[in-house]
Every structure is written in structure tokens, then in C-alpha cells.
Amino acid sequence: MLLSRRDAIRGLTFTFGVAATGFAGRAMAAAPALAWTPTALTPDQARLVDVVAELIIPKTDTPGAREAGVPQFVDRALADYFDKAQAERLRAGLVRMDADARAAHGDVFVALTPEQQTELLNGYDREASAVQTSGEGHFFPLLEDLVTVGYFTSEPGATVALRYDPVPGAYHGCVPLAELGRGWATR
């Protein structure tokens, strides 16, 4: 089960690699062809979510959001989970990101450099934190929450970035953190 899932993830990464090397230019390198078919997002929105999710949770010594299937997770939440207001807020946010990108740099978000993209996201993060009511009305916390949940509840997120033990068998109340290394995926 675990192995086949990891193989699937490896396959996904491989697809991205091939697609990315097939094109030249900064835009295509940042936004390769999707290896999955979105249901609630348009293909353009899915590419945007793919890039933003990876900026929010990038690949480091552990897998990033893309490798963990987070863009698909966002697509599923939009299709099955969000209510109308949440879905509209998220979609409006995606529209705005491209509009802001064009206004500032003359191209859609996915075509910008990582530095330009990061700067835009920093702006949204500051803007959201200035909203008095815990930022709930702003699209960015909504998207960032979803990416965070999607990542840390994914198999790579839970088992590689965090520690996961489905059947601990016992409770030990005082264990050096150094022995465990990472936070638990579930409580």
C-alpha cells in the first residue's frame, strides 16, 4: 500500500520533470503541464494553485506540496467541501492574483519569477493579518489553510515531514524530542 503510493508520487514527479524539460523559458519552467485533470478549477487556475501551493509548502529535505498532491486536494475541496461563499472567495482570489501580477509585472502569476511571486504573496499575507477578524474574509488565509491541511494530512506530509504511527501500542509521557525528531501527524 505504502510502496505503491510512493511509486505513484515518484511517477508524478517524473512527469513534471519531463514536461519541464520540454519547454524553454521561465514561464514554462515554473508552470509545467498538469499531470492531472482538475474538476472544479479551470486548467489555468489549477496551474496557478500548483505554483502557489509549492510556494507555501516548498520541497526542502522533505517533499513539497506539489509532490504531496496538494493542488488536487485544493481542487477536491473546491468541488466537494467549500460552501458557495468560500468557493467564491477562493476563485476571486485566484483572479486577483493574476490581475495583480499583470498590473505589477505585465504577465500572469505563474509566469513571474519566484521572487516576484513571493513578494505578491507577502503582500496578501500582510493584508490578511491587518483584517481585524482573524483574516477569515481574505482569500489568502483560506488558501494557505487548505494547502497546509492538504499537505500535512497527505501521506508524504504525515509520514515524511511529520511522524505518523497508526497503532502506537503504548503511551510514553516523557520522551526526549531529539529521539522523535518531528511533530506527530495526529493526536
Partner: protein
């Protein structure tokens, strides 16, 4: 309606009928069948078989359909307007164990959070499993305070039955020798973590009367031969109990009482059977059985027995009695006292304090302990030192220390809107580590019995089966509100005394029902004029009907009630079997 005669009547006749299959129905079934009675258990909901019918029990986080298994807001609002109010019980993993509110309506004259599960096993599958005995003080409380009516029994009457229940269900806990929280038959206690141990050591120096112990919980830590033979094994510390336990690590009717009952060969269980009323025979002066509505065929049917146990939960047992009118009982079955449906109690909660631990940043834990710490009641224990002038009775704290996980900065977890939260590699690395230790203490307070805190039968509003529904009118009063102020203050004092930082008291508010400990609607008492049940849980006015769920409670204590319900049930079953043998029923 079928008025059965001869062979057909014979076919529907048992020695005993048990209405409900939850934590008390399972116990009634076990005790009655083990003592040789052919017993029919009637359950309004569908079958849930141990192991087979826990569809989410082993799901990993990434197998959830929805983010963190949370149900979509549209689904919650459409179908679970009440069940969602607890904020923690209803998820993708558990929704099959809770009712749909749109299909099970009632009227809120005042807000009442009625959290229910209609299926075999009832709420014994989803209960909190904390298992404490009522104390001698609890049984004497009403008489001493001149509140309500006196319990017709004392601690000594129930003590052997507590022993009996604890040995069968298995309770993990620590004996403490406290008069206000009697010790029981315990399997080895679970461990406190570093912060809880330090909290205990420091707080008990400053407040020695506020004992801190590990929670007493119905989990197996050293199973007995009897428990192993039933197919139950040790708790595996998964803390996914509410989905049903594939190890039988905690007690439920499904893994315990009903299995034991089934093995006697004396049990018949009939799911999909909504008991609508008791059948009363005026000539014999006793109940001869019950009427049901088959939830699938919508046909009425009658079942007959020498003795009937109502174990349908406090409100639904009262509902059956209210709906059982006759010329003998025009105001509801056994309701000569007019106390049926009155004196609704719960435990008020949602108030306490939390703080951050200044040390142990290098320590963590492994395993998910399905239990916390407990601070037994320390107010109004009968001596001058603990006497409060501002309220009667008392409260206990349930709490614990933990390190928050990766979800600690999500906006809906109440994150302070203090500056941007950031994103990228730094945040990812931070969330991959546990957060700083936090410790919380949450109070569970006693609610007094008030006659006008009541549920009534509403014949004008019917459910999908055309059956009358309930109306709720329950509020907490000055005694509870004064207690809540103390619950908040005393918790903060303890955390401060133990050196915690950022200590914050809170009162998040409480609506009746949120404790999911509704009780008192057919109280026990000594006098048929002022109570519904006698000292053996028999209806005063009809001795072959026993009510042994939360309806029977004369006062609430501040401890979780299920253990007491089970002990009352076992004691009543013993009484019923002996009385039947004597020909007294």
C-alpha cells in the same frame, strides 16, 4: 393494530424486554440473560456489529474525503444543525454514529443541545469513557441541602455494583483514597506526561486539597481473562475511539455487554424497532409488554414480557412513558407524581483556564493517550475549610498538557491575528516540529435539579413516523453561574501556582445538553408522590417496569455519569430476576 392471541402472541413473548441497546441497555441485556431470562432487546436504529461496522476505524489521514475529515458546511447546516454544536463529535469519521437532526426534530423553547446516536450500541460507541463513582456526599446531597428529593439509596447500596461493573468493563485508574471520589477496581493507570507531573507536584504544594490524578477511563491496560475471552484486547493508544475500536480497547455495549448477552443464547436483538408505548393491563395492574413501530415496514407490533427495562436514554425513556397514556395513567406512565420529564440535569462545562509550560521544551511524548488528568471536587465537601458561601455542590476538572501540532496556526484554530503568519520553507520547518507545551483545565460542574427544567410531549409536532416529539425548556441558574466564576478562577490559580505563563481563564459559555449527560427525567425517590422510581429503579406505580438510564438520577453529582447508570442497571436487573422468581412482578 395486531392484538395477538395464541401462538402468535407466544412467538412475541419473552421473559424480559430491554428498550435500548446503549450503555445501560447492554448492561440490562447482559445481566438478565446471564441470570437465565430470555430477553428481547429493542433498538430503534440499525445494527452495528463490533469490528464489522466500524467503517472508518482504521482510516489514515490521507484517506479522508474532506479536509481533516470535517464535514462540508452545507451538509452540517442541512442535516446536523444540533449535532454539530459540540464542535468535535461530528466528522466524516463519525457521522454514521449520530442522528440527522432534520429527521429527528424537537422544539427548543430554550436552547437544548440534544446529541444522540440511534443504532445498536447507542452512545456507548462514542462516549468519553471517563468512569468515576458517585460518592457518599453525592447520595446525601439533596437531603442535606433540602434540594429536590432524597436519593432512596446510599453509596453502600451501589458500591458492590460499581465493583461488578468496573471488573467487567475494565477501568484504568489510580486509587487515591479520597472520600469525595471513592476508589474502584482499577487496571494500571495511564502515565502522566512531564508537564502534567510537574503541574501536579507544584500545584499540590500550594493547594494540597486539590488532588491531581490521572483520568479513570474505561480502557483495558491489563485485560482480564474474561475480557480477553470476549475478544477484547489492550488499548493501543490510537485515540480514535469515537470511530469504534477494532481492538475492543475501550468498553462499549457492542464489544462488551451485548457480546456477553449473545453468548448465553438467551438474547434476541431487534434493530429498527421504535418502542412507542408500554402496554398496561389494568386488571393485572402491571405492564404486559410494549408496542413498537417497525422503522422499515412502518407496521405496529406488540411484544410481551414479565418485566420491561427502559434503557432508551433519559429523554427517550421519558418520551415512551409520556406517550403511554391510559385511563390509569392519563398524564403519562407512572406519572402520579407529575415529576416525569422534570428535573432535567446535565453537567455544565466549557469553563476553566489554560497556560503555557515554561519548561520541557526538549521533551515530547509518544502514543496518543485517550485520557487526561482529573482534579476531583474540592469544594463543599462537608467541612468548614471547603465550604463556599456563594454556591452549593461542586465541580471537577478534566485537563491535560500537550504540544500543539502542525495545525496550530490555522485561522479557524483561533490564531491571534498578530502579524503575518508567513509561508514557505521556514513555516514548513516550524510546523514540522511540535509547538510549545500548553496545559488546560476544564470544569465539569453539578447542576441542581429544578422542577421547571423540563421536557414535555409535543403532539402538535410529529416526526417522520407521525410520532409526537419533545419540547425542551432547560436553563442554568444563579447557583451554576456562581460556580462557573469559581471554576474559572480556581483553575487559573492552580496553573499560576505551578509556574505556568500566559495563564488565561475562560468561560466559553454553556448551553444545556452540551455535557451530553442529560438525566433526571424520571427520578428515583422514597415517596411515590414526589418521584417516579423507587430505590430499585422500579416505577412506583408499576413494579414490573424498571428505568435504569439517566432518567433515574435524583441528583447529578459532578462526575461523568455512565458508570453510575451501569451500576444502577446491574443492581436493578438483579432485583428484577429475584422478584420475578418470587412471583413479585
Amino acid at each position: 393494530m395486531a392484538n395477538l392471541n395464541g401462538r402468535a402472541r407466544q412467538k412475541n413473548t419473552y421473559d424480559a424486554i430491554v428498550v435500548g441497546s446503549g450503555i445501560t441497555g447492554g448492561w440490562a441485556a447482559k445481566e438478565l440473560t446471564q441470570k437465565g431470562l430470555k430477553t428481547l432487546v429493542l433498538e430503534r436504529g440499525p445494527m452495528v456489529r463490533h469490528l464489522e461496522d466500524y467503517p472508518t476505524a482504521t482510516m489514515d489521514p490521507w484517506q479522508a474525503k474532506y479536509p481533516q475529515g470535517q464535514l462540508p458546511p452545507d451538509e452540517l447546516n442541512a442535516h446536523y444543525a444540533v449535532q454539530k454544536r459540540t464542535g468535535y463529535t461530528l466528522t466524516e469519521y463519525t457521522k454514521h454514529f449520530f442522528v440527522r437532526d432534520d429527521q429527528n426534530p424537537y422544539t427548543e423553547e430554550s436552547r437544548y443541545d440534544w446529541i444522540r446516536g440511534y443504532h445498536v450500541g447507542g452512545r456507548s460507541l462514542t462516549w468519553g469513557r471517563q468512569s468515576y463513582r458517585h460518592s457518599p456526599i453525592d447520595f446525601e446531597a439533596n437531603a442535606r441541602d433540602g434540594i429536590g428529593v432524597d436519593w432512596p439509596i446510599r453509596y453502600e447500596d451501589l458500591a458492590p455494583w460499581y465493583d461488578h461493573v468496573e471488573r467487567f468493563i475494565g477501568v484504568s485508574g489510580q486509587a487515591e483514597g479520597l472520600p469525595q471520589l471513592p476508589d474502584g477496581q482499577y487496571q494500571p493507570p495511564m502515565e502522566m506526561n512531564c508537564v502534567e507531573k510537574a503541574f501536579k507536584a507544584k500545584s499540590e504544594v500550594r493547594f494540597p486539597e486539590r488532588r491531581i490524578t490521572i483520568g479513570r477511563t474505561a480502557h483495558l491496560t491489563d485485560p482480564t481473562e474474561e475480557q480477553l475471552a470476549l475478544g477484547r484486547t489492550k488499548c493501543q493508544f490510537r485515540n480514535m475511539c469515537i470511530r469504534g475500536c477494532p481492538f475492543g480497547g475501550y468498553y462499549s455495549s457492542n464489544s462488551g455487554g451485548l457480546v456477553a448477552a449473545e453468548r448465553t443464547g438467551n438474547l434476541v436483538i431487534r434493530p429498527g424497532s421504535i418502542v412507542t408505548s408500554l402496554i398496561y393491563d389494568e386488571k393485572k395492574g402491571k405492564a404486559t409488554g410494549v408496542r413498537i413501530l417497525d422503522a422499515t415496514t412502518r407496521q405496529e407490533e406488540e411484544f410481551y414480557a414479565d418485566v420491561v427495562f427502559l434503557c432508551a436514554s433519559a429523554f427517550n425513556s421519558a418520551w415512551i412513558m409520556m406517550n403511554s397514556t391510559s385511563s390509569r395513567f392519563p398524564n403519562g406512565f407512572g406519572n402520579g407524581s407529575d415529576q416525569l420529564g422534570r428535573n432535567v440535569m446535565d453537567h455544565h462545562l466549557g469553563v476553566g483556564a489554560s497556560g503555557e509550560a515554561p519548561e520541557f521544551a526538549d521533551m515530547y511524548y509518544s502514543g496518543r493517550r485517550p485520557n487526561g488528568i482529573y482534579v476531583p471536587r474540592f469544594r463543599n465537601l462537608g467541612d468548614a475549610a471547603t465550604k463556599r458561601s456563594d454556591y452549593l455542590r461542586g465541580f471537577g476538572y478534566q485537563g491535560g498538557a500537550s504540544r500543539p501540532g502542525w495545525d496550530r496556526d490555522l485561522t479557524r484554530s483561533g490564531r491571534d491575528a498578530a502579524g503575518p503568519r508567513g509561508f514557505g520553507a521556514a513555516r514548513k520547518a516550524a510546523l514540522s516540529q511540535p509547538g510549545p507545551w500548553v496545559m488546560g483545565l476544564g470544569g465539569f460542574g453539578e447542576i441542581l435539579p429544578y422542577e421547571d427544567n423540563r421536557i414535555t410531549l409535543n403532539r402538535d409536532k410529529t416526526d417522520e413516523f407521525g410520532l409526537p416529539t419533545l419540547s425542551m425548556n432547560v436553563t442554568i441558574r444563579e447557583n451554576e453561574l456562581a460556580m462557573r466564576r469559581d471554576m474559572q478562577t480556581a483553575a487559573a490559580e492552580m496553573l499560576e501556582a505551578a509556574g505556568f505563563t500566559n495563564v488565561r481563564g475562560y468561560d466559553g459559555g454553556y448551553a444545556p445538553g452540551l455535557g451530553i449527560h442529560e438525566m433526571g427525567t424520571a427520578r428515583m425517590g422514597r415517596d411515590p408522590k414526589t418521584s417516579v422510581l423507587n430505590a430499585h429503579n422500579q416505577v412506583h406505580e408499576c413494579k414490573n417496569v424498571y428505568v435504569t438510564d439517566g432518567a433515574a438520577m435524583t441528583s447529578a453529582s459532578c462526575v461523568n455519569p455512565s458508570l453510575t447508570y451501569m451500576a444502577l442497571t446491574a443492581r436493578a436487573a438483579d432485583h428484577a430476576v429475584k422478584a420475578r422468581k418470587r412471583g413479585d412482578l
